[in-house]
């Protein structure tokens, strides 16, 4: 059986657009956090987020009409374009029916939804705008990727919230293993939205200035946005076109806590880790790095670390959270995690958890790669993704 490999990565993020810029930013522990501009944050006590400021969709998209797609769809399609470029993939050369797109998201097209709601507030519900609503359906995100890249295989948007990219990459992996596709664009996208900012604030989960995962004084997430897409191929397909893979997808698992609509469950998460290891045919001691879900809330980080200890025992590998740099990019977050794992594997380094000041003794001894990236050989990496509704998904990557 042919392995499934990653040949290209396409990050559109608050710390950089494109593989090279993102890599540089990860290595230097860059923060993508700034004061919110995509909506007026002045009524909120907390006003920071990981917005993508420099994104001009026309710079990346030649086929779709950027005026007729929402921001999340544009992120997904542009990120897929970047991933195809990074993969050196001649998009025209692959039979369209053998190319699929799978995109994970939390909110779908929230900016469109907000525009729709503004209209309701101003003109009443009977005037709800049918034209704008064309851009609203969640599946538009994967459809945009297919439309932009000329793909006619499956188009699937997976709405499993903050773990959705891992689901998408896992599903893409399955499509390739089962012979249903030769190339899959997989990952996730989400756009900033006021209601998510409000919701997390009201839950007490929103930090004020910075996101500080694993820190003793961590106080929550910062919301964020972006598009994180990768190119998956069978090793055979990559070899046939003379392309050296960046990394290998060894396997993945998805499960459900089935306990609480928002609070994570350590037993459910530990079970997901074990399933992912079994599916990837690795043992815990082989994992060299965990790219954590690491949202920076007291609850998530404690629960995730408890699960790590349960599975890895007393000597887990280094665990860092790139949400410290990006904020929480919602459905794109585990896609950025996979991209970070790939770059870490390729570059021989461990991405840092920035904004770290004090050990949280309650977490026990843990190497969170505080503040500075450092060299490290990564043969196997575990990329964590957890979400509301107990939707857990973990992807295991290996060096090619």
């Amino acid at each position: 059986m042919s392995e499934v490999v990653i040949t290209g990565i396409g990050p559109i993020s608050s710390i950089g657009i494109g593989a090279s810029a993102f890599d540089t930013a990860l290595r230097s522990g860059c923060s993508g956090i700034s004061r919110i501009t995509s909506f007026d944050p002045s009524g909120f006590p907390h006003q920071n987020a990981g917005e993508v400021h420099a994104f001009l969709p026309e710079d990346y998209l030649h086929r779709i009409d950027v005026r007729r797609w929402g921001r999340s769809s544009l992120f997904a399609a542009a990120a897929a374009r970047l991933a195809a470029l990074d993969a050196g993939l001649d998009v025209e050369a692959v039979p369209p029916g053998r190319v699929a797109a799978v995109v994970g998201t939390t909110s779908g097209e929230p900016v469109v939804s907000e525009t729709l709601t503004s209209g309701i507030v101003e003109r009443g519900i009977a005037a709800i705008d049918a034209d704008i609503s064309e851009m609203l359906p969640a599946n538009r995100l994967s459809n945009a990727v297919c439309a932009e890249l000329g793909a006619s295989g499956e188009s699937l948007t997976i709405g499993t919230a903050c773990s959705a990219s891992n689901y998408a990459i896992g599903y893409g992996y399955d499509l390739l293993c089962s012979g249903a596709a030769d190339v899959v664009y997989a990952g996730g996208a989400d756009a900033m939205c006021r209601w998510a900012h409000a919701g997390f604030y009201r839950l007490g989960a929103l930090a004020k200035d910075a996101c500080a995962p694993f820190d003793r004084d961590r106080s929550g997430i910062l919301t964020g946005e972006g598009g994180a897409m990768i190119v998956l191929e069978t090793a055979e397909h990559a070899a046939a076109r003379g392309r050296r893979p960046r990394a290998v997808v060894r396997g993945y698992a998805a499960n459900c806590d089935a306990k609480h609509p928002v609070a994570p469950d350590a037993a459910g998460i530990a079970a997901c880790m074990r399933l992912a290891h079994a599916n990837a045919d690795v043992t815990p001691d082989q994992i060299d790095y965990i790219c954590a879900h690491g949202t920076g809330t007291p609850a998530n980080d404690a629960t995730e670390v408890a699960a790590i200890r349960e599975v890895f025992g007393s000597t887990p590998p280094p665990v860092s959270s790139i949400k410290s740099m990006l904020g929480h990019t919602m459905g794109a977050s585990s896609g950025f995690g996979v991209i970070a794992c790939v770059l870490a594997i390729n570059g021989g380094y461990l991405p840092p958890t920035i904004n770290w000041s004090h050990t949280d003794d309650a977490l026990g001894p843990l190497d969170v790669v505080p503040n500075r990236a450092r060299p490290g050989v990564i043969r196997f990496a575990q990329n964590d993704g957890f979400a509301f509704a107990g939707n857990n998904a973990i992807v295991v990557l290996a060096a090619a």
Binding site: P96, V121, N139, C146, L156, A198, F388
Partner: protein, 373 residues
Amino acid sequence: MSSGMSSGMSGGMTGRPDRDRALEIAGWSAVSPAGIGSAALAACLREHAAGGRVTLGEHPAVLWPDDPLPADINHVDTGFDVARYVPRKGTRAYDRLTALSVAVGMDSLRAARLEVTDETGPRVGAVLGTTVGSLKSTSDFTRDTMTQDKPYLVNPILFPNTILNGPAGQIAIRFGLRGVNATVGGGPLAFINAVRYASITILRSYADAMVVGAVEELTPQRAWLAHNSKEPPAAETGGAFVLQRPGLAEGPVAVVTDVSTGFEPEYPARGPWAALNRCVRAVVGEQDTAITEVFTSEVDPDTAEYDAAVHALGYQPARRTVSGIFGSCGAATAAMSLAVALAEGGPEPVLITAHDRSGAVGAMLVSIMAGPC
């Protein structure tokens, strides 16, 4: 679980191509204006067959007293109470979509005689198809952040309802389904996408059984959106089906022989019909029993989806549309197509097709064992 099922499979696959892609439907249920369940659906179909619109259920004004509603609005089961299906504790935060999804999910598990235990729970999952989740929940929550004295004066308990995976998560919580839990988009294609997702998940051994469904609530938002889009009146419909690997169910009611999805990149300049043609040919394959009915997602007088299916088949089965029975079913369209086919009974295979409004298409072939409800 009621039938023998191994619970220890690690799920790792050796990657052999799946030649046999059939899944069994062990049991199912539906949401219709007459209520939850196959009997309620059958009552709606009898009323429709007798001539005209389904009027069972009641005018929904009593549910939405503060909002104007279009004059031409469908009836719903205004007496629906989720506490008939699950303990009331914990349901206060449910929006209507979540409540209907939990109820129909529960009823499908009952119909499938699927007992979920601590041992088997990790191998039972769920996947729901949707368009935008609950437009009302998202819009009302967003409206609060725009109109309240402070933009953060939203109700945090309602936050999970604004996110697409809320209903699937509650189904898992209520019934202990700790296996793969997913939510997929697709609009009219969403249920076919969900079946496709379940197919991959089960056939690659990540799960042994999945509750696969799609539901749409009838709210003022959906009602006006359908009205302003010049679509048939929005309907409150849905279906949930317990899909399993072949051989696990005692006496399955149907077999989903195959499911295929695709996309037309030139849409709308080129209709999605070449892509649909490929999907139909993929699922029909070597099928030698004539298909007598095609359920499409289209709305009269549009027959392009049916024409594409006919072109692929080379003959003309009867054309059925759930829009003609219930109205705009949204994400529940293909679920209702399957529910209607099951309610009417076998034995000939039925073809179910759908497309969304930006070029995605899909088809599934189902053989029905059971007789009419």
